[in-house]
């Protein structure tokens, strides 16, 4: 069947041209090209007193990408974005972080054409504590 399709030179030329244009479009499309981005969280560590406690921290978020597009910040494992930027190549925000576990955040690029989401960078706020369960005895003279 393929041989029939390109049985004459005209059809062959059209097929090659179509393949070439398709390849060129894919390469020139910034969304499909590999996106380089960086997501920074500061501070990256949140310290609670005892293991298992919720840790609270004001976290500054900054990100930078190599080309403008629509980006969103997503907190794992949630899918809903926390904040989005339209047609930007960098951004900043402030977040009141509160969690008892380490949380990973992802910078998500949204391709308007294909409606696909691509995670282009990630960073985490590490939750740690002074007294781990193995450090502090439950029954002790010092109750608190």
């Amino acid at each position: 069947m393929f041989e029939n399709m390109i049985s004459n030179r005209g059809q062959l030329a059209k097929t090659i041209l179509a393949l070439f244009l398709g390849l060129a479009a894919a390469l020139l499309d910034p969304v499909h090209a590999e996106t380089t981005a960086q997501l920074d969280l500061s501070p990256e560590r949140c310290v609670a007193l005892n293991e298992g406690q919720t840790c609270y921290q004001t976290v500054l978020i900054s990100w930078q990408a190599d080309h403008p597009a629509d980006y969103c910040l997503v907190r794992e494992p949630q899918e809903a974005p926390l904040v989005c930027w339209e047609n930007r190549s960098h951004g900043k925000a402030k977040m009141e972080f509160a969690s008892s576990e380490t949380v990973t955040f992802r910078l998500r690029l949204t391709d308007k054409v294909s409606q696909r989401d691509i995670d282009v960078a990630e960073s985490a706020v590490i939750v740690t504590w002074v007294y781990s369960d193995t450090k502090r005895r439950r029954n002790s003279w010092r109750l608190f």
């Binding site: 609270y56 951004g91 402030k94 008892s100 740690t128 007294y131 781990s132 502090r136 005895r137 439950r138």
Partner: protein, 377 residues
């Protein structure tokens, strides 16, 4: 009671929304779709408020509301004599109109049971088995603390021990446990170093056998001219039982100890209760309590015998001692290894104690406070 031959339908159409059995509050994520002006400073940027949730997103919630109900039917079979293979109660679950197979029903029931148990556990516990509520057997390990800071006392206490006013102070604390055996020492505490064995532990109660010194040596310094005529009071070893009970956010700790070093054969007891609240990363605690020392203990450490009586120390025969105490404190983690800790202590001593010639202070009410920077290792 007689049942008809046909299985009796006892309960039908118990409608359950397919929400998970969890008392965790729903948390919203504040979505801000406005782009941030790239020239804005961080302070001007829209603030994202993320409310913590450790739960997985509840993707079934909406579907559960829409798809509707789960019907559970219980039927009792008035069958033959019980046997292991014969279930008298049959449970049938219909989900969205479809009757689940036996395997699916068993799995569903098992999941419900687990959710109920987790909910009850979380409800009574307040916090799951994490942090201070983690099981004792998982707690082998230890810590050491070195601290320095300032302390203040509004009056003197025991002769050669007490202080008054503002002072620079250091603090050393250690706690270590292996296979239930433990040692703990808090230099700022009235309780001296303590050896123990945690022989029982549940979610609610921890029981320890404990052995340690409760009093320091007294009048043992031969350079101390004033106390030279006084017979040495040796530090006593006492052994007993310590119980710590966890009632939701409240912790109650009691102990009873009897002297085993054969100096006075007295006994002591104490009861403390307190709670802790967290405001952001600041931990604030408060506790109140009472302590008891028997007359034998009082006689040995705070009494003056006729043979010892002099112009400096009148003969004294005290009765038993009950003292009351309260404490408010706060701890703030500055980093993974540094804590800023402050506390205020109030103690009301008994007249029998304060009237002892060996007691320097003359006020039954005593206030002390300290603020320390602690290195935790």
């Amino acid at each position: 009671m007689t049942f008809s031959a046909k299985p009796l339908l006892l309960v039908s159409a118990i409608s359950l929304a397919s929400l998970p059995l969890s008392w965790a509050e729903d948390t919203d994520t504040h979505l801000n779709n406005d782009p941030i002006n790239e020239t804005e400073t961080v302070a001007d940027a829209p603030e994202i408020t993320v409310i913590a949730t450790d739960d997985e997103p509840d993707t079934d919630t909406e579907a559960g509301h829409e798809k509707g109900k789960i019907t559970v039917e219980f039927s009792i079979d008035e069958g033959e004599t019980d046997s292991d293979d014969d279930d008298d109660v049959k449970v049938t679950i219909k989900k969205n109109g479809r009757e689940l197979s036996q395997e699916e029903t068993d799995a569903e029931l098992e999941q419900w049971e687990q959710e109920i148990m987790e909910t009850l556990d979380g409800a009574f516990r307040g916090t799951p088995r994490k942090g201070i509520f983690a099981l004792q057997q998982d707690r082998d390990g230890g810590f050491a603390e070195l601290g320095f800071g300032l302390k203040y006392s509004d009056g003197l206490t025991m002769m050669r021990e007490g202080y008054e006013g503002l002072e620079f102070t250091t603090e050393f604390n250690i706690g270590i446990q292996l296979a239930g055996l433990f040692y703990e020492y808090f230099s700022a505490s009235d309780n001296r170093g303590l050896f123990g064995y945690n022989f029982y532990n549940s979610d609610w109660v921890g029981l320890d056998l404990i052995v340690g010194k409760e009093h320091y040596d007294f009048a043992d310094d031969k350079e101390d001219k004033l106390l030279l005529p006084i017979e040495v009071r040796h530090g006593d070893w006492t052994g007993g039982l310590r119980s710590t009970v966890y009632l939701g956010p409240l912790v109650v700790q009691g102990q009873v100890r009897r002297e085993i070093s054969d100096y006075h054969n007295g006994y002591t007891a104490s009861l403390q209760t307190g709670t802790n609240i967290q405001i952001k990363n600041l931990n604030i605690h408060g506790l109140v309590g009472a302590s008891y020392q028997s007359e034998e203990v009082m006689d040995y450490y705070y009494g003056v015998t006729a043979a010892e009586a002099s112009s400096n120390f009148a003969a004294y025969d005290p009765g038993e001692d009950i003292r009351y105490n309260a404490e408010i404190g706060a701890s703030y983690p500055m980093s993974k290894n540094w804590i800023l800790r402050g506390q205020v202590n109030y103690t009301q001593y008994s007249d029998d104690l304060v009237n002892s010639p060996f007691w320097d202070g003359d006020n039954t009410e005593h206030l002390s406070s300290r603020i320390m920077l602690l290195l935790v290792m």
